[in-house]
Symmetry: C2
Subunit: 229 residues, 2 copies
Amino acid sequence: MNSTQPQHTNRQYEEELRGLRAGLIKMGGLVESQIAEAIGALVDRDSAHARAVIARDAEVNRMDIETDQRCLNLLALHQPAASDLRFITTGLKTTTDLERIGDNAVNICERALELNEEAQLKPYIDIPRMASIAQSMVKDSLDAFMRNDTALAEQVIARDDEVDQLNYQIYRELLSFMAEDPHTITVATRVLFVSKYLERIADHATNIAEMVVFMVDGKNIKHMDPTHG
Amino acid sequence: MNSTQPQHTNRQYEEELRGLRAGLIKMGGLVESQIAEAIGALVDRDSAHARAVIARDAEVNRMDIETDQRCLNLLALHQPAASDLRFITTGLKTTTDLERIGDNAVNICERALELNEEAQLKPYIDIPRMASIAQSMVKDSLDAFMRNDTALAEQVIARDDEVDQLNYQIYRELLSFMAEDPHTITVATRVLFVSKYLERIADHATNIAEMVVFMVDGKNIKHMDPTHG
């Protein structure tokens, strides 16, 4: 147990806290754009674009490590209390979700690369819709976090059902494609995986939003629905 | 910033730290058994058993909240330094993985309930094998965490490839089932999802193992492979 006094000034502390906020916003912005670009690469059947998104994941990972380090430093050197402690520990848990959202964008690109080797099943309509909702959920969950905005966080959580419904709809549609023409099975299962990745991205945003409500209200609304995730 | 001295004794602190360890071990044990029971319910086509596993997820969620609260208390009241701080923050991130492993066990049971409505494709061979590896990875990642055992953590990380290979093998096999007989498509996609859930469970265990290596060595081996997760 460390019982020495904090060795840093308040000003340094405030600066590091601002650095953490900026780091989280930057990481959130990057993973949002990774989602958008992954779906762009998929829809345009652009393998070079997909590879660029995959390559950029290294930056997401770097930010994950860096942001966690900022959290650890703040905890170790400044012994923050009450609301700051809650903000920092929420940050520490949020990076895990953001990093995995980035992984899911990579997974979408991997499926896109495979899909580009084969004929397209049909133009994508629901997948981009689902992606755009998932992306907005990521953005809003982070905004809610930065602004202590529980109303916005609750909106994010509500929107998760919409994504689940789209995922189910896509699943049913792909099943009928496969049943009608077994030649489409390989392609259809890959599209099915893309839909699952988007569903998972929405789940991660929902998790962030739930943590924001807990951070602000101390009210635990996690696990109302045990099945998402 | 809280510059007051810790108000609790060393003894209380040690006790709370032991409580955190015990809580993590208990939560780990519960999610391990949830995996085993979910696969048992699937293989035995036992819907009552599947429902019992789903119901028990509430306990996983309770433990998640409780364990996080222990971490927050330790951070708020005792301002732990160095290795303890690292242990506690790793605990805080590990609960997220454990809780999601529990969600994946629930997802397996949901698919089991659906699968029990239809004829079985074939006896399960690879799925229980994959489950047993994934379960051992969860157990070992937690043991590695509790014992600061990086060698064991590295073994867990290595085993993830085996799970990925089994997942791919199952995918190929299910594709050929579907192609040969389109009537199997619905059932086959559900089994495919079960395989994906197990792969995710192994990914979560791998994440825990990577955090253990970081906690002990300060060496960041996360993100060597951006695609798992």
